[in-house]
């Protein structure tokens, strides 16, 4: 097995706590009734991983994780509230499909990956004490790997333009919704949820299956 870096018992305890927190909150994401709560559980999981990264001396990455994920999860929670019914968890929620297969896939991938983690032999070359991780990352990003870094930036810019086009109300050929109909409540049934033909007012616009 791999020799650990030299660190105190405090770091080990902290790691154990954070690891538990990360896994438990990750699990709660899919087990809570409220989607807003789910996205904030995910945020806690990310923050726990970020702190672990700081413990691993990747100071920039850990802190960057905090603010990246804080913004991402805020947006996510906002979208939840915007699009989903029941964002507040007033109703119990269980919106899953193919659950058995999914559980199987999750467990199998966990087993395979952990087997790899435990059985494979990785080289033991810890970070040298004199390394300044932030400086080395900066030099790499704006030095040898500048092309990669810049392409990532370019892709982000393209994405931004793309999503504005995708989500705007009016496309190049007229209104985005023109000619589209919501799916029926029964398969093949009448379109649901369009306000003008909404007969059963209780049901609003959503359409959900149970499995």
């Amino acid at each position: 097995m791999i020799e650990s870096m030299s660190h105190g018992i405090g770091v080990d305890i902290a790691f154990l706590l954070l690891a538990t927190l990360a896994v438990v909150t990750a699990w709660r994401v899919f087990r809570t009734d409220s989607m807003v709560r789910a996205s904030f559980f995910l945020l806690v999981s990310f923050i726990a991983v970020g702190v672990i990264m700081i413990l691993l001396a990747a100071e920039y990455l850990g802190v960057a994780m905090f603010f990246m994920m804080a913004v991402e999860m805020t947006v996510m929670a906002l979208f939840m509230v915007m699009f989903m019914m029941n964002p507040a968890g007033l109703n119990p929620m269980n919106m899953v499909h193919q659950e058995r297969i999914s559980i199987g896939a999750g467990v199998v991938s966990f087993l395979v990956l952990s087997a790899m983690a435990l059985l494979a032999v990785f080289p033991d070359r810890p970070v040298s004490a004199g390394l300044d991780p932030v400086r080395s990352l900066g030099n790499e990003m704006l030095g040898d790997s500048m092309l990669i870094f810049e392409s990532a930036g370019l892709v982000l810019l393209t994405t931004m333009i793309g999503v504005v086009v995708l989500s705007s109300h009016r496309g190049r050929y007229g209104a985005a919704t023109e000619g589209s109909l919501p799916p029926g409540l029964e398969s093949g049934g009448d379109p649901a949820g369009k306000p003008e033909e909404d007969e059963d007012g209780e049901d609003g616009g959503h359409h959900h299956h149970h499995h």
């Binding site: 409220s34 807003v36 709560r37 904030f40 945020l43 100071e59 920039y60 802190v63 960057a64 905090f66 603010f67 804080a70 913004v71 999860m73 805020t74 947006v75 929670a77 906002l78 509230v81 507040a88 968890g89 007033l90 300044d132 932030v134």
Partner: protein, 308 residues
């Protein structure tokens, strides 16, 4: 070693939290009195009396709130303020946590503040609180980019993401002069992240208190203290980033920091009392259309300055 690395910084942050929040309360009362709000009693005792009143009051309940999030949110906001205060250097060596990425840490405090304030509004399961939460997300997503560009601007001449280095880099010229756009933009960010005065969209009067509309008693006390402490933390960061932190003649460094922080606080509180609350829509437009390009210019300015 434990005493030096853990106990001392924690004590320092606690002291700053308490003293800072008290200062803000007193200052705001003095300003309000000067602007014509009728008041009696001593300005020094009034904040304490208010605290005592909130402590005796019961924390109330709304119908089916998200209890954990609702009670945690004020405490989380307070701890974010504490993190902010912890990165403020009082002198070259006197700083609670001298993380090499403290500038980025402050950035994440700003981002997490959005989360916490939204959570506070959302979890009350009440109308005005929820609208306040929404509004804050719109505001938070707008100011965070401006803040990032401005902060990168001050990190450039320092060639470091560490606040102590940022202050040290201002030995010759303070950033407030070197990057003239920086401090005004950053002050607007500060008003936004503490939702104070003109940018108080989350806890505003037209929402009967917004995210705080439904809280009473000790949670309200924590929330008020946290807002005041966040204002102090922000002015500390602004001091280090733009006003040369502990640098200054004659007086010892920490005293300079305190004086500069008081000055920033005074400006923020005055702005808060003198300006009307911005309409949310206009506020977001202003941020994206005018202030964000300005922060680009500030960044380019800083970059060119660093190259020369």
């Amino acid at each position: 070693m434990i005493v030096e690395e853990l106990v001392l910084p924690v004590l320092m942050v606690f002291f700053m939290l308490a003293a800072g929040a008290y200062t803000v309360a007193v200052l705001d009362r003095v300003i309000a009195g000067a602007l014509g709000t009728p008041q009696t009693g001593s300005v020094w005792i009034a904040p304490l009396a208010r605290g005592a009143w909130l402590m005796t009051q019961h924390a109330n309940a709304t119908e089916a709130p998200d209890w954990r999030a609702w009670r945690l949110a004020p405490a989380l906001y307070l701890s974010l303020a504490a993190i902010g205060l912890a990165v403020v250097p009082w002198s070259g060596s006197l700083v609670a946590t001298d993380l090499v990425t403290s500038v980025v840490l402050w950035g994440s405090v700003e981002a997490l503040a959005t989360v916490v304030i939204f959570l506070h509004g959302w979890s009350a399961n009440a109308l005005f609180a929820l609208i306040g939460g929404y509004r804050y997300v719109a505001l938070g997503l707008s100011y965070i980019l401006i803040s990032m560009f401005v902060l990168i601007g001050v990190a450039l001449p320092a060639e470091s993401l560490q606040f102590t280095q940022v202050v040290a880099s201002q030995e010759e010229l303070w950033n407030v002069i070197r990057q003239p756009l920086g401090l005004p933009l950053f002050l607007i960010v500060g008003l936004g992240m503490t939702f104070w005065g003109p940018l108080n969209l989350a806890d505003s009067a037209d929402l009967a208190g917004g995210t705080a509309a439904e809280i009473s008693g000790p949670p309200r006390l924590v929330w008020d203290v946290a807002r005041a402490a966040m204002l102090v933390a922000f002015s500390g960061v602004a001091t280090s980033a733009f006003l040369g932190g502990w640098l200054g003649p004659w007086l010892p460094g920490p005293l300079w920091v305190a004086i500069k922080m008081l000055a920033v606080l005074l400006v923020l509180l005055l702005l808060g009392r003198l300006l009307p609350r911005l309409a949310p829509e206009r506020c977001v437009t202003l941020m994206w259309v005018i202030l964000l390009p300005l922060s680009f210019i500030d960044l380019v300015w800083a970059g060119v300055g660093a190259l020369l």
